[in-house]
């Protein structure tokens, strides 16, 4: 049995970008091999049936098999240089069973025959039976109907893996050139592209073939003030998306005008880098913030990360129960708070939905990694905590009859577990534009883009930075600020949410490499919102003398 190769992209000049480690799964291949169609579905079904039958004959009461082909392409540049082009492919099979009431898992790389998958299934049963001896409580699995032979494809318009490396390199070097021409000293730019080709089959009678695409164009611009030696940076305002290369073809309708242009379903990387280069110069001369209480206006390109950390992770049921206590931590949003049906997570303006279906989002799939059809459900309704994120072996704990469909594994070789669906703040119901939102603010700060982020292990106390900060006085934006971070407590913060703009302003942000578990697995997740206002939040000044 082999497992994935886990290499870290290091020394690639990622500079201060928040990509401390980028996992690469699989073996390096030539880009042409991405165009191979992969294993035929009929053969996948035969391999799956062999595993299902073998596991059953060895005594499994439940079996699922995932046959996965994972393609990754990363293009990494700085200024006028291509630093790296990474092309990887990983193919294998993961089989999970319940035997004697206990989970067992085995994986096999490059499985080609029914004998390969049958042997791995037998191994998974043997592991389950061995682990059953240590078990205190048998697994209770929520019932799940079988769907027969079905398929789902991400509705992309242009497969990023069919675009030549030359076109991608030309784009990034063009972006870098524009940054330098507009006064930046340094620029790093990257394209991350992922294609998951996943086949799932289970003893419930499902055979599900899915094709999932994700991409993330990102840059960081650095400008140095020659006089003082101080420097400022600005990251791209792009979002990682569940889309093809069409994300890089921005239509006028995808652009959100304002103090700086932000983007919706299409991203103009060249336009954004030019703005970024100019803004780093403006940041150098910006006023250092005066610490104190401010009303915050948070753009969706910023607010997604606050939602992710303070609501997304806090409502993961495995954290709530204590399964992640030694690493990611537990949660303040305990079961008694859910059961009380009266826990004010936020103000009545705060409605938060979990979702695995939203078109163009990172979480969108037809079925999750345990064959559950995906859906949308409420986490916070009119400010009250009403649900968690739960998968098949957790649903009974919160009295649910079925899984929420948010189970995921980052590779065929990883065991699937509960992962965050898209978690989004619903737009406000009445018509409200960003201009109208800002108009009433006496002393505030408008924050665009995500920056430094940190939150405690139960998700109470957090601190967030950003990319761009604008001072608001008497309803007017009066200039740029720097050295800004805000600190708050999750419940206090969401209860200070007084207004959310309407659906016209709704946009997605997201995380391409969200980590969880020991050993750690990554997953990608989107968070949508419209611009929102939070009153009286504590802002600190982060400038220091050394």
């Amino acid at each position: 049995m082999k497992r994935r190769n886990f290499i870290k992209l290091s020394g690639l000049g990622l500079g201060g970008m928040m990509l401390s480690s980028v996992p690469i799964l699989g073996n390096a291949v030539s880009p042409e091999s991405f165009l191979d169609s992969g294993m035929d579905v009929a053969l996948k079904k035969r391999l799956a049936d062999a595993a299902l039958n073998a596991a059953k004959s060895k005594g499994a009461s439940y079996t699922d098999i995932r046959i996965g082909r994972y393609l990754n392409q990363y293009v990494v540049t700085r200024e006028d240089k291509v630093q790296n082009v990474v092309n990887t492919e990983s193919f294998g099979v993961g089989i999970r069973v319940i035997a004697d009431g206990c989970w067992g898992f085995a994986a096999v790389v490059d499985a080609k025959s029914e004998a390969d998958t049958a042997a791995a299934a037998a191994e998974a049963v043997a592991i389950a039976k061995a682990n059953a001896k240590l078990m205190k409580r048998p697994v209770i699995l929520a019932p799940q109907q079988g769907y027969g032979e079905v398929s789902w494809k991400a509705p992309i318009q242009r497969n990023a893996f069919e675009v030549t490396i030359e076109e991608k390199v030309d784009l990034l070097l063009g972006v870098n050139d524009a940054a330098i021409k507009n006064g930046a000293n340094y620029v790093n730019s990257m394209l991350f592209m992922v294609n998951e080709q996943k086949y799932f089959a289970s003893s419930d009678g499902s055979y599900i073939d899915q094709d999932i695409h994700r991409m993330w164009p990102v840059f960081m611009v650095t400008t140095i003030d020659a006089k003082t030696g101080k420097f400022e940076t600005r990251q791209s305002l792009s979002a990682p998306v569940g889309m093809g290369y069409e994300y890089l073809q921005a239509n006028p309708a995808d652009k959100v005008a304002g103090i700086t242009t932000r983007y919706n379903k299409g991203y103009d990387m060249l336009e954004d880098v030019i703005a970024a280069a100019k803004q780093t110069k403006e940041k150098i001369g910006a006023k250092s913030v005066e610490a104190g209480k401010y009303d915050l206006i948070l753009d969706p390109s910023h607010l997604w990360l606050t939602i992710h950390e303070s609501i997304g992770h806090a409502t993961e049921l495995d954290r709530v129960l204590g399964y992640e206590a030694n690493f990611a931590g537990t949660s303040f949003a305990t079961l008694d708070k859910l059961q009380s049906k009266a826990f004010n997570y936020g103000s009545p303006q705060v409605n938060v939905v979990a979702d695995k279906t939203q078109v163009g989002s990172l979480g969108a799939v037809g079925w999750d990694d345990e064959g559950v059809k995906t859906k949308q459900w409420d986490l916070i309704k009119d400010g009250i905590l009403v649900n968690y994120q739960a998968i098949r072996d957790q649903a009974h704990i919160i009295g649910e009859k079925e899984s929420h469909g948010c189970c995921y594994a980052d590779s065929w070789s990883s065991v699937q577990f509960q992962r965050m669906p898209n978690v989004s703040l619903s737009p406000g119901v009445g018509p409200l534009s960003v201009e109208e939102l800002i108009k009433d603010v006496k002393r505030g700060i408008y924050i665009i883009g995500d920056g430094s982020f940190s939150i405690d292990q139960q998700r109470y106390n957090f601190q967030f930075g950003g990319q761009l900060f604008y001072e608001i006085q008497d309803g007017q934006i009066i200039g740029m600020l720097k050295d800004v971070a805000y600190q708050s407590n999750t419940q206090e913060f969401w209860n200070s949410c007084v207004k959310v703009c309407d659906e016209r302003d709704y946009r997605l942000g997201g995380s391409f490499f969200d980590g969880k578990g020991q050993p750690s697995q990554v997953s990608a997740v989107s968070h949508g919102s419209s611009t929102a206002r939070f009153n009286g939040v504590n802002v600190i000044n982060t400038a220091r003398k050394v």
């Binding site: 082999k2 500079g15 073996n27 292990q457």
Partner: protein, 445 residues
């Protein structure tokens, strides 16, 4: 054949790989490893697993066009295939102006990082070790979540100029979060060694248990500047952000804490208290590390900060050539010198202060000052007149390791610890620091 190749087996295999090369230059990196882990939560085993992995990466170069291909099957056909593929990728690649060519053969220092005690760990060994911890947690009525992982592996490399390097090593890490049943107290411990015989799971469990029970009923103190005693695990996660920044290129480029105006760097400048000395040494007995870098460069004992003065920053081979200096690879370990006081002695010499077990979710806030934010976790205690008086609620801090090392009061006896952020092992003393900046309170336990 085991995936763990002997030096002779690795040499033979790499020679075969290079024999297929038709490129101007070729370099092959080989690794084999056996990993195992056991994870538990709510006082029962949640997952356990093992990984057997081998991998060969081949880098071929035609002029400055470079391609890398990897493979995990080592039969002759696969070896030839991976060399051919790396050559095809090199021919497709744009020129890399920073490619420096492969190195001539080098001489490396001796470093013993391999221990039989760790190499022979089985699933049963792990289960027995964790069993002891679970038993203690049960008897103390604590809810335990822990992780034990072990690694046995080697890495080797060879290039077309005849350089050959081989390094076998083992490692085992154990961490535990123990919580009181009502969730009002939490304690943590982490230990890591090359030699499994040094790991005392029961003793470690007792530390976490004591911290969990002692942290019940924490009182709130006003945020502000406090004298703190950072246990080595807490100090390590701050110090490593200073270590990560010690790169000459970003300093020369003007975008690092180590930059000075006018394209200069802080090499030669005193930046912290003159008692601070930090060095790397692959042959260190308590923290051995590979005596070579991934590209074959020699790792030798190197001073990074000596008596408060920046002595070195790392230079890649390309950047060293640009600057006309000798290359210096990033270190494979870091050791901070300290004093002789035990943690208990540091506490007993403290009039008023806060003892910090662990810091969590550390993120950079400003790269120019190395300002970091994060929170205390799993055991934070108020000290008065040389004694721990009571547990205090957790704090968020905003502090720079540079400022912290300027506010150094006392260093204790250095010990080996593991970063809970990066999983890297270091040798760090417990540090007593004046005026450490806590900016808000957290309700988290």
């Amino acid at each position: 054949m085991s995936v763990i190749l002997t030096e002779a087996e690795a040499r033979t295999l790499l020679q075969k790989v290079l024999s297929y090369s038709k490129a101007d230059e070729c370099e092959a990196n080989l690794l084999g490893e056996i990993r195992g882990n056991i994870r538990y939560a709510l006082n029962e085993v949640s997952t356990s697993g093992s990984l057997i992995n081998q991998n060969l990466a081949v880098q071929s170069a035609f002029g400055k066009k470079v391609g890398v291909a990897t493979i995990d099957e080592f039969d002759e056909a696969s070896l030839e295939k991976v060399v051919r593929r790396s050559e095809e990728l090199a021919l497709l690649a744009p020129e890399n102006p920073e490619y420096m060519g492969v190195l001539e053969p080098q001489q490396y220092v001796e470093s013993t990082g391999y221990f039989e005690s760790t190499a022979k760990i089985t699933p049963e060994t792990r289960a027995v070790a964790v069993g002891k911890s679970l038993e203690l947690s049960d008897s103390e009525k604590l809810t335990a979540a822990g992780f034990l992982e072990n690694h046995n592996g080697y890495s080797a490399m060879m290039n077309s100029k005849g350089l050959f390097a081989y390094y076998p090593s083992t490692n085992v890490n154990f961490s535990l979060t123990a919580r009181t049943e009502d969730g009002t107290g939490s304690g943590y411990v982490i230990k890591g060694y090359h030699d499994f015989d040094k790991l005392d799971v029961a003793a470690a469990t007792k530390i976490a248990a004591q911290k969990a029970q002692g942290s019940v009923g924490a009182r709130a103190l006003e945020p502000g500047k406090y004298t703190v005693i950072l246990e080595p695990a807490a100090a390590a996660v701050l110090l490593e952000n200073l270590y990560f920044a010690m790169d000459a290129r970003s300093a020369d480029e003007g975008r690092s804490f180590f930059s000075n105006p006018g394209g200069k760097t802080k090499i030669g400048e005193i930046i912290v208290d003159e008692r601070v000395t930090i060095y790397s040494d692959p042959a260190h007995t308590d923290l051995p590390a590979s005596p070579w870098s991934g590209d074959g460069q020699v790792q030798k004992k190197t001073m990074w900060i000596e008596k408060g003065v920046v002595k070195n920053l790392s230079y890649s081979r390309y950047w060293a050539q640009q600057k006309g200096v000798s290359p210096l690879p990033s270190p494979n370990n870091m050791i901070m010198e300290g004093g002789t006081a035990t943690l208990e002695e540091l506490i007993s010499n403290t009039e008023r202060g806060i003892l910090v077990t662990k810091l969590w979710y550390i993120r950079p806030v400003d790269p120019q000052t190395l300002l970091l934010t994060g929170l205390t976790r799993d055991g934070t205690f108020y000290i008065e007149n040389g004694e721990i008086r009571y547990a205090v609620k957790n704090f968020r801090f905003n502090e720079s390791p540079v400022i912290m090392l300027n506010n150094l009061d006392t260093m204790g006896l250095p010990e080996r610890t593991v970063s809970t952020e990066s999983n890297v092992s270091y040798i760090v003393p417990p540090l007593k620091i004046r005026e450490f900046t806590f900016t808000s309170l957290s309700d988290a336990i």
